[in-house]
């Protein structure tokens, strides 16, 4: 009894405090991760075998041009000095200049990033818009061994869909919808119609995976005691499924959404390539091919930061939404 009271006391007083501790720990990890990312992207240029400027400008470039570019990039200074300057420039939003075009990297990235996000964000929303209703409906329909055939075909379809990589989906969509049917444009950004195929290509696989996760979570929740309590109150099945079961089922799903969003942003690299989409993905690939290292460096930094921020935000948000604060120790 005494112990129990103590527990209650803790349970009553801790949630807020626990959430702050958790959020604090997450932010600390975010800061450390960002530092690792920044340092890694700085070291990237140093680690490139040979002379990066020579590699970028080609073997035929005149030596004095290479030398002046090296001086411009500060590559001849001591490492520590370069590192500190790099950090300082970051805080002022200066990511350096492209070796090839001489344009500020930051400008190029901001412009291209919007293109990428205009694919990733709708795809992210579409994934949940598909996965949650489908997962919930399948869970309710196939509960307790009912409709075995529907269950098997759902799981089978979802495994097949999730086995297909984005770039294959993209090519298949282009071949069928754009080339064969000729309904939508095959490439480029030109009006709403041009968004349809890339967004679909990005979200089909994740939606298949997510809907399976939602279904499994939902099945577990539907067998929980508190759902039986809800049934004992003779509520409508709509209310039981949506008000009592669903919020408990999606907390786990939302936890994964940070990782999913990060993966989706990375997935845009391939999809943009297929659809010749003016985004960060096509920028990073072409700059890797042309060895425009400052541009690669900036793109890696931005991609990494997006992934880290998405993960942290989702974790902290889920912890705030979930009154049980169960994530506490993770």
């Amino acid at each position: 009894m005494v112990i129990q009271q103590a527990e209650v006391q803790q349970a009553v007083s801790r949630p807020r405090g626990r959430w702050w501790t958790f959020a604090g720990r997450r932010v600390r990890r975010l800061l450390i991760s960002l530092w690792v990312l920044v340092t890694a992207s700085f070291l990237m240029i140093q680690l490139v075998p040979g002379d990066p400027v020579r590699a970028a400008l080609g073997t035929n470039a005149p030596p004095d041009l290479v030398a002046s570019r090296r001086a411009q990039l500060g590559l001849d200074d001591p490492l520590l000095e370069q590192y500190l300057r790099y950090l300082g420039n970051l805080f002022t939003g200066d990511l350096g200049e492209s070796i090839l075009t001489q344009l500020p990297v930051a400008d190029t990235i901001v412009q291209r990033l919007l293109g990428t996000l205009s694919l990733a964000v709708p795809a992210f929303l579409l994934t949940f818009a598909i996965a949650i209703p489908v997962g919930v409906a399948m869970a309710v329909a196939t509960r307790r061994g009912r409709r075995r055939r529907a269950e098997l075909s759902f799981v089978g379809t979802s495994i097949v869909l999730s086995s297909i990589p984005e770039f294959v989906v993209s090519v298949a969509l282009v071949a069928v919808v754009a080339v064969n049917l000729g309904i939508l444009p095959a490439a480029g950004r030109d009006g709403i119609g041009s968004f349809v195929l890339p967004v679909l290509a990005l979200s089909i696989g994740p939606a298949a995976v997510m809907s399976r996760i939602v279904r499994v979570e939902m099945l577990a929740v539907l067998d929980a005691d508190y759902v039986r309590t809800a049934r004992s109150k003779r509520l409508s099945s709509l209310r039981i499924n949506l008000r009592h079961a669903l919020p408990n089922a999606v907390t786990a799903t939302l936890t994964l959404s940070g990782i999913m969003f990060a993966a989706m942003v990375a997935g845009t690299v391939l999809v943009e390539n297929v659809f010749a989409w003016p985004g960060l993905g096509s920028t990073i690939v072409s700059s890797i091919r042309s060895r425009d290292y400052p541009l690669v460096q900036g793109s890696v930094l931005v991609y990494g930061a997006i992934a880290l921020l998405a993960n942290t935000l989702v974790d902290v948000a889920v912890a705030a939404l979930d009154p049980r604060s169960t994530i506490g120790d993770s």
């Binding site: 080339v179 039986r228 809800a230 990375a266 990494g304």
Partner: protein, 633 residues
């Protein structure tokens, strides 16, 4: 692990997966030998052509046959996949196990570092490494291997740490066994299964990552070609010959499926141990249904809250239905408290769920009569009775910790039934909720109503459950082991609250418990259940003195009271409860009964009523005599 693989082959998914993998491996070995020449033969007179009888999938910009190029590319695609996977898995094992071997601090730093790496999508890692290592096939293998190492290491570490904390591993370590040996002998064998499954799934993602890199032009470099490269080449001519890009794409899908299906099947088989929920899965003996009439009085009382006659609950089994409840009859009058006692598996909870109309598919409830407040619950659809049951029948479950919805406020959980069935407005309902929380003696009910269940103790939650029932005007509370999970003091409070409810509102109570002392302290009458039947029905005042069924007597013997010799071992009932899948022919209790005779083993006794109560035993009279003799001794 080995013993599980044949199981993988027994599922259709596994068979398809393994068959696909075998075909791919054969192709990888044979295709370059058989068709290597045809795949590289150029034909400048026939470039970028569509499918024809000569070239099934058309030709590329040098007039090479795309179909054969796709087949031949199998080898490089698979070899590179396996190389990168092996590299990643090896690195992952090293990185994941190292924290277990390193000094504590260093280990923790490493785990933290792994966590940081995990924050980055693997494609980004691959691109980053590809920049440093330069654009070539071997650097792509290296990059992908390193990129998949961190998630794999994390898995190895999580699983390994779980095992390393176990007693026998700790014992081995303390007794001075070399830590590396501890890992190899004790940790690795125990985590091998999930790791193999995960490696299979990892291989599929490596295949796609590699394909992606080649597709972007930073993986395999010409003149070598894999599927990704072929797809990129084909993309340029997608308007003239879509098959050139689609065929390698199909190869990706088939190979990815082969790995995924095998992994799924293996995971299913490996996981089956913990996942199987075996309820009523074994063969069932045919059940002879025999109404056990408690033909004591005429059922003419109008005031009956609950009237159940010959209730059966059955579940489908592979060899016919299994019946955990086999013909239970009971009546409850207004304000009456009836207890149902029995061991676990006696069917008492099933009876409660059936009465409350909460038994779910595939369970089936049949009864000669099942009326609640003069309404036949078997008539019409279940939802027809929602309003009646929602306001007049309250249910309190065993585990207060899980009976309330963790993400909903207490207040919302109280008001919803009242709003639906009684048509109260939001304000009226919430006022009533606060009032009801006060009625179950919760201090500061306004604040409590705004809280979530995790802020409540077990006893408070159970009182909340009762308050939830009191939102309407309950005629009956079905309480299924309401106090089992609570400690003694809180148990008393909850039982008192039930008594109070009964006194104030004339609510009947059906109290299910395995604890005879709980039941006899609250109830007027006690029903003793065994193997899905009521074997004795008697006033609880008479329980200790006039119980005649040997099972009832054994249950009473199993309850320690103040007179129990504390040094003597607790009395337990010898033998095992009856398995509902296999109910014997005669009296179900015969196998455990000290009085059992040949008759008991052949004929099933029916419940016979007399002045004391009802009992189903051929030796009801003897039983009482023996008891008296025992007491005289």
């Amino acid at each position: 692990m080995r013993r599980h693989w044949p199981q993988v082959l027994r599922t259709p998914v596994g068979i398809v997966g393994i068959a696909l993998l075998t075909i791919l491996l054969l192709l990888a070995v044979l295709a370059p030998l058989l068709w290597g020449d045809r795949a590289t033969a150029t034909d400048t007179g026939d470039i970028l052509s569509g499918p024809s009888s000569q070239h099934w999938a058309g030709t590329d910009d040098l007039g090479r046959d795309i179909f054969f190029r796709t087949l031949v590319a199998t080898r490089l695609s698979i070899v590179l996949t396996l190389l990168a996977t092996a590299l990643g898995v090896g690195l992952g094992l090293l990185l994941g196990l190292a924290p277990l071997l390193l000094p504590r601090r260093l280990g923790r730093i490493m785990v933290a570092f792994l966590n940081v790496l995990l924050g980055f999508p693997s494609l980004l890692m691959v691109l980053f490494l590809a920049v440093i290592l330069g654009v070539s096939t071997s650097s792509a293998v290296l990059a992908i291997g390193v990129a998949i190492a961190s998630p794999f290491a994390r898995l190895v570490h999580t699983l390994g740490a779980g095992i390393a904390e176990r007693d026998y591993v700790a014992a081995a370590r303390i007794s001075g066994v070399n830590p590396v040996r501890v890992i190899v002998r004790h940790v690795l064998p125990n985590v091998a299964e999930p790791l193999v499954v995960n490696a299979t799934v990892t291989a599929s993602s490596v295949l796609l990552a590699f394909g992606g890199l080649s597709f972007l032009g930073i993986g395999v470099q010409p003149p070598q070609y894999d599927w990704g490269r072929l797809m990129q080449d084909g993309l340029g001519s997608i308007y003239t010959n879509p098959l050139a890009a689609l065929l390698p794409g199909i190869a990706f899908v088939v190979t990815g499926l082969a790995f995924n299906l095998t992994g799924e099947a293996a995971a299913g088989t490996f996981g089956a141990k913990s996942r199987s929920r075996s309820r009523w899965t074994s063969p069932a003996a045919p059940v002879t249904v025999r109404p056990s009439g408690s033909g004591d009085e005429e059922h003419a009382r109008v005031a009956d809250v609950l009237d159940v006659r010959d209730l059966h609950v059955s579940f489908p089994g592979p060899e016919g239905p299994i019946s955990p409840v086999r013909g239970v009859s009971l009546t409850l009058r207004t304000g009456e408290a009836v207890g149902v006692v029995g061991e676990s598996g006696s069917g008492k909870s099933m009876t409660a769920l059936a009465v409350a109309q909460l038994l779910e598919e595939p369970g089936r409830v049949t009864a000669e009569r099942l009326t609640f407040c003069e309404t036949d619950l078997q008539a019409g659809a279940r939802s027809d009775h929602d309003a009646l049951l929602g306001t007049s029948l309250a249910v309190v479950f065993q585990d207060p910790m899980s009976s309330l919805n963790p993400v909903m406020r207490i207040g919302s959980q109280l008001v919803e039934a009242a709003r639906r069935h009684q048509g109260l407005t939001r304000q009226e309902a919430s006022d009533r909720a606060v009032d009801r929380l006060r009625a179950v003696h919760l201090a500061d009910p306004e604040r409590r109503a705004r809280q979530h269940p995790h802020e409540f103790s077990g006893g408070m939650r159970q009182r909340t459950m009762i308050a939830m029932g009191l939102m309407g005007t309950p005629r009956l509370i079905v309480a299924d082991e309401p106090t089992t999970a609570l400690d003694m003091t809180v148990q008393r409070q909850v039982l008192d609250l039930l008594q109070e409810t009964r006194r104030d509102h004339g609510t009947a109570i059906l109290l299910i418990s395995h604890d005879v002392s709980v039941v006899s302290s609250v109830c007027d009458r006690v029903l003793v259940m065994y193997a899905g039947r009521i074997v004795e029905d008697l006033p609880s005042a008479d329980l200790r003195t006039k119980a005649r069924h040997p099972y009832t007597r054994a249950l009473i013997g199993a309850v320690p009271d103040m007179a129990t010799d504390l040094d003597a071992p607790l009395t337990t009932i010898p033998g095992q409860p009856v398995d509902p899948r296999n109910v014997p022919d005669g009296c179900a209790y015969a196998a455990r009964c000290p009085l059992a005779t040949e008759r008991c083993r052949q004929d099933d006794p029916v419940l016979v009523a007399d002045a004391i109560g009802s009992v189903a035993c051929w030796h009801a009279d003897v039983a009482l005599d023996v008891r008296i003799e025992e007491e005289a001794r």
